[in-house]
Symmetry: C2
Subunit: 544 residues, 2 copies
């Protein structure tokens, strides 16, 4: 085995090697490069795919790190998350430069994505430090009961090593140090990230910040590894590794489902939390359309083209009642699209899929397509023009492919002739991350049944707003029934994301001194606990 | 289609037909009978397997019932659960008679199981009525933030129709009206139960109580159906039905894994909560063994033979340090077993598996078996003698089949020569429902590392007690990593079981009047909610 190099380097110099605990990956694997979407040209340096041995080594280190991290104090966990946030801010300009190069997205986007990513780390640090997230419950003993009642105390504990797959469309917020990693660490799990191959340089920069934080705080080496791969072997090996206990993924339905199937077929199946996107239906109700159609057009255009339309929450279908106002809305949206400049997509593959999906839809009867004025740019870049499509509810219902995600700056207006028709369309929807309704109070009253149906289809219901822009907060649900996610009982954004990577354990008649601090009588951290069914921050009152 | 009969009959008269909403199942399917384990003779009446059409009809009714039940008030849900409990108590003697006949278990067992089952229903009624279980979270808007912050409010909502599989070993507490059904209803889901074929009469009696409660309270017909089957076709059809959204199961690893695999292979995979049993390791630490070995023997014997050893939590392996005291413990346990009367097992299949498993272990080298004095009773009954086996840690580690569940009155003593050996054995354990440690405070200090390892292997860690006897309370965790359950992140006993059958949804900028009551500003039920990260029962303070 060749000598492993240290990962400590200057912030700007990229090595192109995986980070395996405190060591660099070896040479010898298949190599790949990022591409500049503005030009289609490859970027320096070359990145080397990790080997199966390196996957095994990363998992071995994670297994070794797991007990220490699981029993780490809440201060230590919070300190680590804050150190990563501070480290990332320290090299912000370098990271942003690289992210721009690898994605074609603008500076402003990465300034806010970096702020959001660091804010997310600090929010989880706060949650961990406050401590009540462990959902501590105490049922006191009753030795006088006919069948003596034992003392039972439960709390959440970590699952063990978690494999995280970086997303193409959020190189910071949903990638190496993104929400999946942060929530897994916060819950007490070591993390192994499979970097997204479209932005490996950004991944390495973030990875080095994390690795440096692990080292400088004296934390166990296996708390973090970052693996590069030009293909799918590393990801498959991770998901199949018997010591990996959960998976986090953000990406396509095909990719997510493949990981779900792999995980379900293991001798020991493990949970996969895959966020796989959706078309996020929007319903514009009659009075709102009449009163503020023009305002809605502007918001809608901004939302479906934000980030080049490469958001999981992009509004991909918009239901409107067929009226003069809806024709006006369609016309206005068509105008905006026709005049727009092209948007740069993230990868050649995404561009190909977008162009293919768009052109395929052109052959649908009763579907009108308006595209930008300049045709597809033919300059080697990954740029495309935005697209707006129009059809009616009958056509939408008859063509299942119109319900599939078209990743990129496109949306579909669907006009319906009556309430029954829009209810039918809503009730036939599969799972989505979001649904949006634009309405007046009168509209919401009239369409209460529509809103009830939509609740059963999504993780988030937006009123008079736009689904893009996912607040990182305590109540956020960025999830939704399959196929929006693998498990609609979870969220990948917001503090409830921590609940994916832990499980309850209970202690029966455990002497106080051997209990975890969160469950001790005296409640040293003054966390919220449920004692005999009542929420309290008090200590346990000893039975008289 | 033949006319469907009503299910309203006298409490004692069994029809042998499925209950599909308010109708009785048709004749014509394959028939089967329960058997009396005391004699091995079939019991009246004949039961008829449901057809695929009847499965579809039950699901169709459940789909129709789902919206009304999901939006039912907490009072209505609580009233239903309490009505079922009261109805069950009203026919207690009939149910207990039939359960005794179909299981061979004694009267006292069913008195307590019925009390536990009804207590469980009332506990969930209380939880639902109190209302805080929905985990409401509110993040208030901040319109002044640079990027205006929306108002986000989340709570748990039901998943939709749930399929429940009754267990062989708890005809009341884990069956038609058992914990799985009750927690699914409490969360707001319709329930379709596949009855266990070993106690169909008990199932029908309980099912009719439930059906009567649904009808008399004017609840939607599809809230409950009960399907009989002599084979596996009904269960498979249920798990594969596109409108079934989750599965609850208690039974064997083979059965549970088959349902997991079916559910994972669906076009829309759904969660399966399968509790599949385990061997529930017990660790007797040196000082406790020395000080109170005799006391432990008595408790252990009672625990591994309780209910004929047919508990998911039966202590199936007991680790002891090899000393004079452990030899004494083995001798005493052997004496008890040798003198014991036989135990009646639940089914011919369980008896065959027990005898086979026992005899197979006889061929293991270095393993001593002590059985009851009378050999296997040969009277047509399902009775067997209890068994205690003894071996050493080396043999246990070298023979993987010794880690497999032997369902029935048997346990295995494993002696080890040092701490390293017992730590090795513990760290090689798969997932179990429970682990138990007997020790003095000094033992627990010395074996802190053992206790840490055990936490990662189980859902419940018992100190100086016995794993059988699962308290139904807020903090109970009756779960554990695979293969003890399909998803170690859940419990099938205690109020946290409700969390299996719901998912979070959030509302963004929803006008107060259109929010569910639990999320309205005024907090009409005064439930506990997290507002901007703080737990409170207060109303939302409107921003100044």
């Amino acid at each position: 085995m060749p000598t492993m190099e240290t990962t400590q380097r200057s912030a700007t110099e990229l090595t192109g090697r995986s980070i395996i605990g405190f060591s660099s990956g070896n040479s010898g694997g298949a190599t790949f490069r990022a591409f500049d979407p503005q030009t289609g040209k490859p970027c320096e340096p070359e990145f080397t795919s990790a080997s199966v041995n390196e996957v095994n080594r990363a998992v071995e280190l994670a297994v070794a790190a797991a007990p220490q991290w699981a029993s780490s104090s809440r201060e230590v966990r919070a300190e680590f998350l804050r150190a990563v946030a501070a480290g990332l801010e320290k090299i912000a300009s370098t990271v942003i430069e690289r992210a721009k190069l690898e994605t074609g997205l603008p500076e402003g986007r990465f300034k806010s994505e970096l702020a959001r990513t660091c804010g997310q780390m600090r929010l989880f640090a706060d949650v961990v430090q406050e401590g009540s997230w462990v959902s501590a419950r105490i049922d006191r003993a009753d030795p006088k009961r006919t069948l003596p009642k034992p003392d039972i105390r439960s709390m959440l504990i970590p699952l063990g090593p978690v494999a995280i797959f970086g997303a193409s469309n959020f190189p910071l917020a949903f990638s190496v140090g993104g929400g999946d990693s942060v929530s897994a660490w916060a819950a007490g799990n070591p993390v192994i990230v499979k970097a997204h191959p479209a932005h490996p340089g950004t991944g390495e920069l973030v990875g080095r910040v994390i690795s440096d934080a692990v080292r400088s705080l004296g934390l166990p080496e296996g708390l973090f590894s970052l693996l590069f791969d030009s293909g799918i072997a590393v990801g498959q090996a991770l998901v199949k590794h018997p010591d990996v206990k959960a998976v986090g993924f953000t990406g396509s339905l095909a990719g997510g489902r493949a990981l779900m199937d792999l995980a379900a077929a293991r001798p020991e199946p493990i949970p996969v939390f895959a966020e796989m996107g959706s078309i996020n239906p929007v319903f514009i109700l009659p009075r709102a359309l009449q009163e503020r159609g023009e305002h809605i057009v502007a918001g809608l255009y901004g939302s479906f083209t934000l980030g080049g339309g490469q958001f999981c929450t992009k509004p991909g279908v918009v239901f409107v009642p067929k009226t003069g106002a809806s024709e006006e809305l369609a016309r206005k949206l068509g105008e905006r699209v026709a005049e727009a400049s092209p948007f740069t997509l993230l990868t050649a593959g995404i561009r190909t899929a977008f162009v293919h999906g768009r052109d395929e839809r052109k052959s649908t009867g009763n579907l009108r397509i308006t595209v930008g004025k300049n045709g597809d740019p033919d300059d080697g870049s990954y740029r495309v023009n935005p697209v707006v499509m129009e059809t009616n509810a009958e056509t939408f219902l008859a063509n299942v492919e119109l319900s599939e995600e078209l990743f990129g700056p496109a949306t579909l207006l669907v006009s319906h002739s009556n309430k029954a028709q829009v209810l039918e369309a809503a009730s036939k929807l599969k799972g989505h991350l979001t649904a949006t309704v634009h309405g007046t109070e009168e509209d919401f009253s009239e369409f209460a049944d529509l809103i009830s149906v939509l609740q059963t289809k999504v993780g988030r219901l937006v009123f008079n707003g736009y689904p893009t822009g996912v607040e990182v907060s305590h109540a956020m649900v960025h999830g939704g029934p399959y196929p929006a996610t693998s498990d609609g009982r979870s969220t990948s954004v917001g503090t409830q994301a921590i609940l994916r990577f832990c499980r309850p354990v209970c202690f029966q008649d455990c002497p106080n001194e051997f209990l975890p601090a969160e469950l001790k009588d005296e409640n040293p951290f003054r966390i919220w606990r449920m004692i005999d069914g009542e929420m309290t921050r008090d200590a346990v009152a000893r039975p008289a």
